[in-house]
Symmetry: C3
Subunit: 300 residues, 3 copies
């Protein structure tokens, strides 16, 4: 699936550092033949680009729960990178092809009983995903059509705008504390930027999963819509954002998010070491194994 | 209009650095003859000081739209400096004498087809205006009686309290991105201090102009009143703030705003260079020329 | 009352620095004899620990107004330290045994007509109280059953959750500016973390005391309940927080509060010097004396 040598390419400067290289994309030349929709299929994420609007959709299709495995993250980074470098693409809508779940967050199997090399590669891919998405030059809209705990919530938080299906059975939040683990500082920084310090303090300590109506109330999502209106609404919001000239919007976004992005860039290796030493603890490994066995029993 | 040599005086330490020099102003001696109102008229701003209350009003009267020209900014700084040093003055209400507009923001003619020296002088005056107003020892109340885009919004944001006429046709916001330009980092810092990071991110990227009711909802203004009640309300709010002892209030204000003021002071020359290199770009000059021609055609 | 030599023990590393030393407290061994309630009485604060739930209550009983004297602060630190080191204790509810008042804040008699040594000792104890409480590893819930100005408000702000009696006659806020004094920067930082920069700016400058309903509206307290439901509600909230594993919650709390705690730790001696030079001013001493005489007259 992923050709060897691709991932290292994925580990270059994050997108936000490249604003200067992409001054105001020129409008499509009207003389060119129209190629209205191009899809590059792969294993875990379906990417569709509508060249007439300049809007791509990244649809997570990794059943049962769109968990963020190393393969998923690698595909995510490559897909985003391709779109970022495609002059025909100005915005991305992130959504799920799996019913009832947006993404369940980091794949626990990647963190259980593996080598230090594997943990390093996995954590670097998690960082990379966030650096690229939070720092993307494109307009990013999360169309949250299912539950979105932990890393799934991080993906939504990293977008410019969050629309969620108004079903109160769907919930969203950084619930790491419920599993006995601690959200990394850059998850926390991203969360505080969205909901503020007070709400973040209690929500992170309690590992709260907020049902959609509550998520709206605390500002964790920007609006709720009925499920059948979600894609239409996401397209309308995207059109509103794309009405602005790209260059000024990109520089503005970079200015707003730079401090938080720089913090991870400055402490990236420490953050990896911290993850490894935490995840390698026997007590943590034991709880993850128990949690996985519980999930297996649930399935059967 | 402005005597030569006055502007340099205007470029000294910002007011917030002077708190220690103005310990608790003594109350007016009751034996002195009352001089209830003094007005010092000038070209662009009408300043009236009511010595009995200690409240001055700065009324912008630079038709058609109170744009922030170099002359306007220079008068603004001089007027504010005079009031700051006048023991009879403890608070200032900022409002407009021009119907339907508070201030349209920076004067585009100052940024179009001029010399580097001119750009330098202009940008320094914009910085100076903000440093003096945001760091003022006086209580500052914005009585926003008209639309207030870009630099006009910055003036309102820099006050201690914002009252706006409840007319939904009047809007306020940092709409720089709509013109293809980027709000400076200290505009952004001031905005984030008022509305928080989440609202600031989308509002700045979209260059949103918020109609009065929405401005209230996001906390961009503190209250709305009918137009005929505006001055009365501003006076009442001012009286409430002036009921507090000056010295403690001034030190508190300085403590709250110091971090953001210090950031511009530490990067002032870089900020000027950044403005010059941006505004000197042919692409930017071209869009400003087009924008100005559009405005001219509108008039005729 | 306080044995000599105890206070220095109280001046060690604040609790937040010790997270690593207290990994996940083991559940009580079921074979041990039950000691369901232990009370260690002292002069100013009644401490009760319910070992079955792991919840302690610290009840302020220093009439007439639970003012934060040096004795009160010393007891507060010692009590909190004991609970912090007691494996049977996982959470603390702070409340008042004095009707209508939670705590009136710093004891003015400690700041009036005393020696520099006394001011130093007093201010260090105020800092210590905040460092221990804001950085506590335990879950801390404020059950605010009366008015809570200044230092009383700081105690509530430093907890994880604030429940207040819904009586609009009870108010809460950092009203230092009303007395002509300035809240220290770490009072301000704690306040901003709870209500945000905009609300903090006006509230601190005006020295506002917010009646309970308004306190709820601005997020200064998390919920209001009828007086007779307060302790029950505090216990229910505590149980919800204690349902989470301690270790992850403690590390999360430390991550959220570290920046603000570190700021005082880095400037602790300067902050003491600043307090001494401020409080030693004749003008400040004079207003405090006048204020105390006013209070005495009120009583008689």
């Amino acid at each position: 699936s992923v050709p060897p040598g691709v991932l290292p390419l994925c580990h270059q400067l994050p997108a936000w550092g490249r604003a200067a290289r992409h001054p105001q994309r020129p409008p499509q030349s009207p003389g060119l033949p129209l190629a209205p929709r191009r899809a590059f299929s792969n294993n875990k994420i379906l990417v569709e680009l509508d060249e007439s609007s300049g809007v791509a959709t990244m649809k997570f299709k990794s059943p049962p729960v769109n968990s963020l495995s190393l393969d998923f993250l690698t595909e995510f980074c490559i897909s985003l990178e391709k779109l970022e470098n495609d002059r025909a693409c100005r915005g991305v809508i992130l959504t799920s092809a799996v019913p009832k779940i947006f993404s369940s967050g980091l794949d626990i199997t990647e963190m259980c009983g593996k080598s230090v090399e594997h943990y390093t590669e996995f954590w670097r891919a998690v960082q990379e995903m966030w650096l690229r998405l939070y720092g993307s030059n494109m307009v990013t809209v999360a169309a949250v059509n299912g539950s979105s705990p932990a890393g799934g919530c991080l993906i939504a938080l990293s977008c410019d705008y969050r629309i969620m299906v108004e079903n109160p059975k769907f919930s969203i939040g950084l619930n790491e504390a419920q599993l006995g683990i601690v959200a990394p500082f850059w998850f926390k920084d991203t969360f505080v930027n969205v909901v503020g310090q007070r709400v973040a303090e209690s929500s992170l300590q309690l590992g709260s999963l907020h049902p959609a109506p509550q998520a709206l109330k605390i500002g964790l999502v920007d609006e709720l819509v009925p499920e059948e209106k979600l894609q239409e609404k996401a397209a309308a919001v995207m059109a509103q954002w794309l009405a602005l000239p790209d260059h000024a919007r990109q520089l503005t976004k970079s200015m707003m998010r730079k401090a938080v992005l720089d913090r991870l860039l400055a402490h990236r290796e420490e953050d990896i070491q911290h993850f490894i030493s935490f995840i390698s603890k026997e007590s943590i490994q034991k709880s993850l194994r128990m949690y996985m066995e519980m999930l297996k029993k649930k399935k059967s």
